[in-house]
């Protein structure tokens, strides 16, 4: 460093109106105090325009290096590169101090922002300087969420001979994937490929499966976390239940089946679905008459096993100590009711894609028959096998996604699963007309584009133009859209409409993040340590994120991430040391470590 290597720092102010951001002026004054820095300047909120004057400044002040600091300073880089070149400098000597990249997002992170700037000035990669101390690690791991990512992560770790606690909120593992019929683009059935893995989890010697449980609190430090888990009263003894189903047969109380997206009814004592793991019954307190009204208790009477059903069972809390935690809490589907123009909830045959997955599933409410939604005696809208079949079906893409009024982001999977559903409809109802309305067809993955081409060849009408509204026309539904590639306005009458709903963070994502001490995006997706090259670690040591809780993803990507998170865990177990949290590093520590690295 020193005289012959003068550094100028440019600060970009955030362009959006967001107020809770890093205090730029404070960081700027700090930067001014670093000896190597000659000049710091910023444009306030104005965008840069005059390259020549900038080049002049660089020349006059004989600046050799430039640091661009800000939330996402990369947007200004090309401008500076040009200026540096015209000032006769080496464009390689531009360093980005990106606050977002290293997790300095809100005003509270101003200290870290300073550290980021410091590292940039010293020319030391931030993640090298910001290396936390290491400590011993407990070899046991907690995995939160029993969806496909959680399952994958658990198996990877358990196979290494280390203990895993897999905590799942519902009565069975499997997550959303278990609900799907086929999976794109290969169309192999979700259950066939998933259930063997579920069974494996259930039987694995190193996995303690804790279904119907929720994580309530976490204390301690990386490598040595103490976790409080709420074991909800299942009221059926997992050890002795032999899954014969007599109880369910006799149970008088019913409720909409969560697993079938409420498209059919289940009993109050039930197994979520035939291949559930553990394949044991559980009692849903909200719909159980005994729990609610204190009478009934038929299940306990008919149960062939003694003391298997205990209606008096209460919730209890368990304490665990683990070294690492993998968060794989997944997503929640967008609530289609929010878009009134589509009439979901008003028109019985406007269904969500997830409902349709159940409807078309061979193991679903109708054994895979595509039928109209009908009302049963009690007035519940359900799919019953004996009702009629639609002759035409419309599919609406991007429901709740790519929309400033709802979710700005793209949900990544809808295009493909919509194509898949279209294909499945054709398979089951070859004479049915299928109309698919999309904005951009995002078939990006391996074999996806080929799948798209295949579907096009199956006589499905694929139309570019977002459906704007759905109205009831007699017994049918009218979808109004613009077919912009053929310069037409389409008012298409169909019997049934599938809304390809997007993915949303779980409603309690932000609380969970708080409990774990990790951060989320504005929407509530968990933030990774580095979006580009560390997508599964977080700023908290020993806590990893996997699958759709980090952002929408398809199955292969979720699986890969699950495994990737496992690798983070195995890394620390394998060298018996774990890194503490990056977020806890002080400015001084990072500064000094950076200085050391420069001296090397």
């Amino acid at each position: 460093m020193g005289e012959n290597n003068l550094t100028g720092i440019y600060f970009c102010f955030p362009k959006n109106g967001n107020t809770d951001v890093v205090d730029i002026s404070e960081v700027a004054s700090y930067a001014g105090s670093i000896p190597e820095v000659t000049v710091t300047w910023h444009s306030g909120n104005l965008p840069l325009t005059d390259i020549n004057s900038l080049a002049a400044t660089i020349r006059n002040k004989s600046i050799k290096r430039i640091v661009i600091a800000g939330d996402t300073p990369g947007f200004e880089k090309a401008f500076f590169t040009k200026a540096m070149v015209s000032a006769g400098n080496n464009p390689e000597d531009i360093v980005l101090a990106s606050f977002r990249e290293h997790g300095a997002i809100s005003r509270a992170d101003t200290e870290r922002a300073k550290a980021i700037v410091a590292c940039a000035v010293f020319g030391v990669p931030f993640d090298l300087a910001a290396a936390p101390d290491e400590s011993d690690v407990n070899t046991e791991t907690l995995v939160i969420g029993g969806g496909i990512s959680g399952i994958q992560a658990s198996l990877e770790i358990a196979d290494s001979g280390n203990m895993v606690y897999l905590v799942e909120r519902t009565g069975t593992i499997g997550g959303h994937m278990a609900m799907f019929d086929k999976t794109f683009p290969t169309l192999d059935c979700a259950a066939c490929i998933l259930t063997p893995k579920m069974v494996e989890v259930g039987q694995h010697a190193n996995i303690e499966l804790m279904t119907y449980c929720e994580v309530r609190g976490i204390t301690g430090t990386p490598g040595n976390y103490r976790v409080t888990i709420l074991k909800k009263a299942r009221r059926v003894n997992l050890a002795t239940c032999i899954g014969c189903g007599t109880c369910s047969e006799k149970c008088p109380a019913t409720a909409p089946s969560e697993f079938d997206e409420g498209t059919t009814l289940r009993k109050a004592i039930y197994i979520p679905f035939p291949q559930a793991v553990p394949n044991k019954y559980l009692i849903d307190a909200d719909s159980c008459r005994y729990v609610q009204e204190g009478k009934c208790g038929v299940c306990a009477k008919v149960c062939p096993v003694e003391y298997c059903i205990n209606l008096e069972e209460k919730d209890q809390e368990i304490e665990l100590t683990v070294g690492n935690i993998i968060v794989a809490t997944g997503f929640k589907p967008f609530d289609a009711k929010k878009i009134e123009r589509f009439g979901y909830g008003r028109f019985p045959n406007v269904v969500t894609s997830l409902e349709f997955e159940r409807l078309i599933n061979a193991a679903g409410p109708t054994g895979g028959e595509i039928v109209f939604r009908t009302q049963d005696k009690k007035g519940n809208w359900i799919f019953s096998p004996d009702s009629n079949k639609p002759k035409s079906i419309g599919i609406v893409h991007c429901v709740g996604s790519r929309d400033e009024n709802h979710n700005k982001y793209c949900s990544r999977v809808c295009c493909m699963y919509s194509l898949k559903l279209a294909h499945l409809v054709k398979e089951k109802l070859p004479d049915a007309d299928v109309y698919e309305y999309f904005i951009d067809m995002r078939s990006f993955g391996k074999g996806y584009e080929e799948f798209y081409e295949r579907i096009k060849g199956e006589g499905i009408h694929i139309i570019r133009g977002r459906t704007a509204k759905i109205e009831e026309k007699g017994r049918q539904l009218m979808m109004r859209s613009e077919d912009m590639l053929n310069d037409k306005l389409i008012e298409q009458n169909v019997d049934m409409v599938i809304l390809s709903i997007g993915l949303e963070p779980r409603q309690d994502a932000k609380e969970v993040a708080k409990m774990l001490g990790i951060t989320t995006t504005d929407e509530g997706w968990f933030n990774e340590l580095n979006y580009i090259n560390d997508p599964v670690s977080t700023f908290t040591g020993g806590i990893f994120i996997a699958g759709t809780c980090q952002g929408p993803k398809d199955i292969p990507d979720a699986v890969a991430q699950g495994a990737a998170a496992a690798s983070g865990v195995l890394k620390s177990i394998s060298n018996t040391k774990i890194k503490q949290s990056v977020k806890d590093l002080t400015l001084d520590k990072i500064e000094s470590q950076a200085k050391q690295l420069t001296n090397i």
């Binding site: 019929d181 290969t186 192999d188 059935c189 259950a191 066939c192 259930t195 035939p274 291949q275 599933n361 061979a362 193991a363 054994g367 895979g368």
Partner: protein, 141 residues
């Protein structure tokens, strides 16, 4: 008493056997004439097995494997398919109607399809009447 076909069927462990189990777990009903032998892959099915079945008095033999492309061992089901066509020729020479041997793809999710298949195949065989092979062999012997 009227004729009750005896049917031996070979199911691959990964798709068809699982499918047959699914038919059970979802309580689908089908004819009790099918007797299942579990093998790892339809590619394992030897001609001898089929002939043995007929020799022992089976009226029909049903082989089920994963759908093309889904084979757990990549292409065992294709191997089986090839062998099946040869077998068909051979059976005819032996005076056994080709319809008595059937090869079908049943995936792990197709419990319903398996149940239907069991019924339809039973009916086919019922239509064909008893297979005489066993008696013939015994009279010869």
């Amino acid at each position: 008493m009227d004729f009750e076909p005896k049917i031996v069927s070979f199911l691959c462990n990964w798709c068809s056997y699982t499918g047959a189990d699914l038919a059970g777990t979802s309580r689908m009903k089908y004819a009790p004439n099918i007797r299942v032998i579990r093998i790892m892959c339809s590619g394992r099915v030897e001609p001898t097995f089929v002939l043995k079945a007929f020799r022992e008095g089976a009226d029909g033999v049903l082989i089920c494997g994963c759908h093309p492309g889904d084979c757990h061992y990549h292409e065992g089901n294709y191997k089986c398919l090839r062998r099946y066509h040869l077998l068909q020729k051979y059976l005819k020479q032996m005076g056994i109607q080709g319809e008595r041997l059937k090869l079908e793809w049943v995936s792990a999710s197709e419990g319903k399809q398996f149940a239907d298949l069991a019924d339809s195949f039973t009916e086919t065989i019922r239509g064909l009447g008893p297979c005489k092979v066993k008696e013939n062999v015994e009279t010869l012997a």
